[in-house]
């Protein structure tokens, strides 16, 4: 074929393509949202799932007593419960709405909730999020098998539409905890049709997903697509603005980015870190960097000398230039940590005690007996194999060398090996991160309590534990936050962990999608999302 003809053919194809509507255009017209969802969820059972990917889908299929607000993570909206009252934030009564229905038409009752709470707390189910319900009276004892009679646990169905929940102590923000999917109801008859209530491999989610949320499950192909469609039985279906949502579990960040670029997605789960700068330079309106309620930090093994010395820990922390790390390495708009708890909780203002101060760092290290780093043993930073963790570890290695004159090794481990090292205390310094379950500092501060299972640092300070414990019995949230701020001050003085930065959610979104708000917990009420037409 002559060159001219080939060129002409290619040109024609290019031009005609420009005129075609992309799948994203067509879906927008039909009111169907195309979402990138990271990777394949391991389960869509609210009591089994432990991943964010699964959570995003479950939020469309089920609804708890309280629904998240489409605009603000701190506002509890009526969900299955139309009203509620409480005594001293300890005894709660919820009125289940009369028009609440399952997707098969059955009414949602208070009994469904009691059944679901019993299910997630059943020892045999082995739910990883059962501990979310440990605030309920006797729930922990039931989950740990100390009591076997569920009627002793603090929840009862007074009648079909009245549910009571009794807590171990007052929780002023209990309504916000209720938004978590571990409190979601499941349909008893469906669950039991496919197995025992406490059988972890009960496959009702794939056989027949009966839900009570704004959407119903329409199509689920592993590693391919999860499709949900507007539910006709949902009590508030008139306010459900999208006709459907398609979740694509695209595991590769680059593939997801190209899928978005080629007009096949409205929203990406993430953005490849080397592309963030490119889109920022281009002033690309699709790029969003939202605060995310999580902290990236280094755990110091407080049992291992010289890390058992608070001065050494402080010195290490003061010698970390967090600004440089977020500006040059992570580049996703992360904020350098000034606290352990990420900012964003109204009314909570601890002292910003985490800082970069080379002179002070050297001084403290000298006071600890290592002037200019002399005699300081070679420590090792462990992290799970990932390019970004490595870059941060290398940067910190350099900073400590330059500022403190100490040598550290860095060592990567495969994910499960690394988790194993952490659990067995086989580390000196290790990378870690924590994402809050609800928007309150206690979801961060409680992990550093002496008896917390997440406390890999083996940190223990009785005064810290006392303040946290006291905050749990305090009746007013204001007073609680004061106590927690005091506890955080102690934590940041002892510095058992080195906070590095607070996370952001980095994603791209089609500008036609409206009603999508920044959510620090990434818990979304899809009801309020629509397309601009």
């Amino acid at each position: 074929m002559p060159m001219k003809a080939i060129a002409a053919t290619i040109l024609t194809l290019l031009l005609t393509h420009a005129a075609f509507a992309t799948p994203a255009d067509e879906a927008a017209k039909e009111g169907i949202l195309l979402l990138g969802n990271g990777s394949e969820p391991h389960s869509l059972d609210p009591h089994i799932n432990s991943s964010m990917n699964g959570h995003h889908v479950i939020m469309t299929l089920l609804e708890g007593l309280i629904a998240p607000s489409p605009t603000d993570d701190t506002i509890p909206l009526p969900g299955m419960a139309e009203s509620w009252e409480n005594e001293d934030f300890t005894k709660w009564t919820f009125k289940i709405r009369q028009n609440a229905k399952w997707s098969n038409g059955d009414p949602v009752t208070a009994h469904d909730f009691v059944y679901s709470f019993q299910r997630i707390l059943s020892p045999r189910l082995g739910s990883q999020y059962a501990e979310m319900l440990f605030n309920l009276k006797n729930a922990r004892a039931f989950n740990e098998g100390e009591i076997s009679d569920f009627s002793e646990v603090g929840t009862k169905a007074i009648d079909n539409h009245t549910l009571t929940i009794e807590l171990e102590g007052p929780i002023p923000y209990f309504l916000n905890i209720l938004k978590h999917s571990s409190f979601f109801p499941v349909h008893k008859a469906t669950v039991e049709k496919y197995g025992d209530m406490d059988d972890p491999t009960n496959n009702w989610i794939r056989e027949e997903y009966v839900g009570n949320g704004p959407y119903v499950l329409k199509n689920w192909q592993m590693n391919q697509i999860i499709e949900v469609a507007k539910s006709p039985t949902y009590w508030d279906s008139k306010d459900v603005l999208l006709n459907g949502i398609k979740f694509f579990p695209i595991a590769s960040e680059n593939t997801e980015d190209q899928t978005f670029n080629s007009g096949n997605l409205h929203y990406t789960y993430t953005v490849p870190s080397d592309m963030i700068q490119v889109y920022q330079d281009r002033n690309d309106k699709t790029l969003h960097l939202d605060p995310f309620f999580g902290t990236y930090f280094y755990v110091l093994n407080n049992k291992v000398p010289p890390l058992d010395n608070p001065k050494v820990r402080q010195a290490l922390s003061l010698a970390v230039n967090r600004n440089a790390i977020v500006r040059r390495i992570t580049k996703g708009g992360q904020t350098p940590a000034e606290f352990f708890t990420p900012p964003g909780v109204a009314g909570y203002s601890p002292e910003p005690l985490v800082s970069f101060n080379p002179a002070k760092a050297r001084e403290l290290l000298a006071e600890a007996g290592y002037p200019n780093g002399e005699g300081f043993p070679t420590l090792t930073i462990k992290f799970n194999t990932l390019e970004s963790h490595k870059a941060i570890a290398e940067a910190i290695q350099q900073m400590w060398k330059k500022i403190l004159g100490i040598d550290v090794d860095i060592r990567n481990q495969e994910w499960k090996v690394y988790i194993n090292s952490m659990q067995e205390g086989d580390f000196q310094i290790a990378r870690y991160a924590w994402i809050g379950d609800y928007l309150h500092p206690d979801t961060f501060l409680r992990i550093m309590q002496s008896d917390s299972g997440q406390n890999d640092a083996s940190y223990s300070n009785p005064e810290y534990d006392r303040l946290i414990a006291q905050s749990f019995i305090e009746n007013s949230d204001e007073k609680r936050l004061e106590l927690l701020a005091e506890a955080e001050k102690i934590l940041l003085t002892d510095m058992p962990v080195i906070p590095i930065y607070h996370y952001t959610r980095v994603y791209r979104i089609d500008p036609r999608v409206k009603g999508w708000h920044s959510s620090p917990l990434d818990i979304r009420n899809y009801k309020g999302i629509y397309f601009e037409n």
Partner: protein, 305 residues
């Protein structure tokens, strides 16, 4: 022929048993278990799960139970996908990998064999050097470079194909090209070598002497012997092609078996690791038997034995 198959299949039994045993103990000796997570789970919860999945039983009990399950195709529930078994996973994802493998094989043969034949007949000319250099490039450029480039060009710039997913027939093209071109390069080089050897043989000279047109000599007489190296290469290649490529499946978001194969090990899903490894091993054995059979059919000398 029947005896040949029976012997070969008989030989495969100890092989599979050895693979089963090695895999069983390797996956159990890897640090970290199926239930360990970044967010630590209470010990009593881990204990409940270990009990449920039978990991608390003595190792020999688990060894024979799992062996029996594999022999009877009655797979245990998976820890990484509660509610599913390895049978479900393989049943759902293998057809996808198989289809992709067949398309890729077609690409490999359709591009590879004609290129190799052409290069061999025009030895040491531009028609030889150009495609062989391309083939060298194809072997050197890994799929994770070619894949994204094809996706960028045909998917994002031209908009002809989708860059991810496995829904329409057109979604097969880019992954099949990516996977197939790599093998096409090998096939082309092997065909060229095989053809060069055969073209110098006496019977080819005889055919030419009879006055047969060159086209018939090459395609009918020489090709049959010339593709022998390709056929023996295809055995292992075929098993690799149809059992799924982790890289290609990840680049194009293809829901195939290759990703489960890798993911199972990462999530320490003992049962899924065992089942996918055994499945892959069985495929390789079958593919090799098939290749031996094909060689017997193509080469009369082997038939007598």
């Amino acid at each position: 022929m029947l005896r040949f198959f029976l012997i070969r299949l008989g030989q495969s039994i100890p092989t599979l048993l050895a693979i089963y045993t090695i895999t069983f103990f390797m996956v159990r000796s890897a640090p970290g278990g199926p239930f360990s997570q970044e967010r630590k789970v209470a010990p009593h919860i881990i204990e409940a799960q270990m009990e449920y999945y039978g990991f608390n039983d003595p190792v020999y009990v688990q060894y024979f139970r799992s062996l029996e399950q594999h022999l009877t195709f009655d797979f245990p529930p998976l820890t990484s996908y509660p509610g599913l078994t390895a049978g479900d996973i393989i049943g759902e994802s293998f057809p996808v990998s198989l289809e992709l493998g067949i398309w890729a094989l077609l690409v490999a043969l359709l591009f590879g064999i004609p290129t190799g034949v052409l290069a061999a007949t025009k030895q040491n000319t531009a028609a030889d050097y150009a495609p062989m250099s391309m083939a060298m490039l194809g072997i050197c450029l890994p799929t994770f470079v070619i894949g994204p480039l094809l996706a960028l060009f045909f998917g994002v710039w031209l908009g002809w194909f989708k860059v991810s997913g496995w829904f329409d027939l057109s979604d097969r093209i880019l992954p099949a090209l990516t996977l197939g071109l790599f093998y096409a390069a090998y096939v082309a080089r092997l065909t060229r070598v095989g053809m060069l050897e055969v073209l110098g043989m006496d019977y080819v000279r005889t055919a030419r002497a009879k006055g047969l047109p060159e086209r018939i000599v090459v395609l009918k007489h020489a090709l049959r012997g010339g593709v022998m190296p390709v056929v023996s290469f295809l055995g292992p290649a075929l098993a690799g092609l149809v059992s799924g490529s982790f890289v290609v499946e990840t680049i194009f978001q293809v829901p195939g078996l290759g990703r489960h194969f890798v993911q199972a090990a990462l999530s320490r899903d003992h049962s899924l690791v065992l089942s996918t490894v055994l499945f892959y091993a069985a495929l390789i054995i079958l593919a090799n038997v098939a290749v031996d059979a094909a060689q017997i059919l193509l080469n009369p000398k082997l038939r007598k034995r």
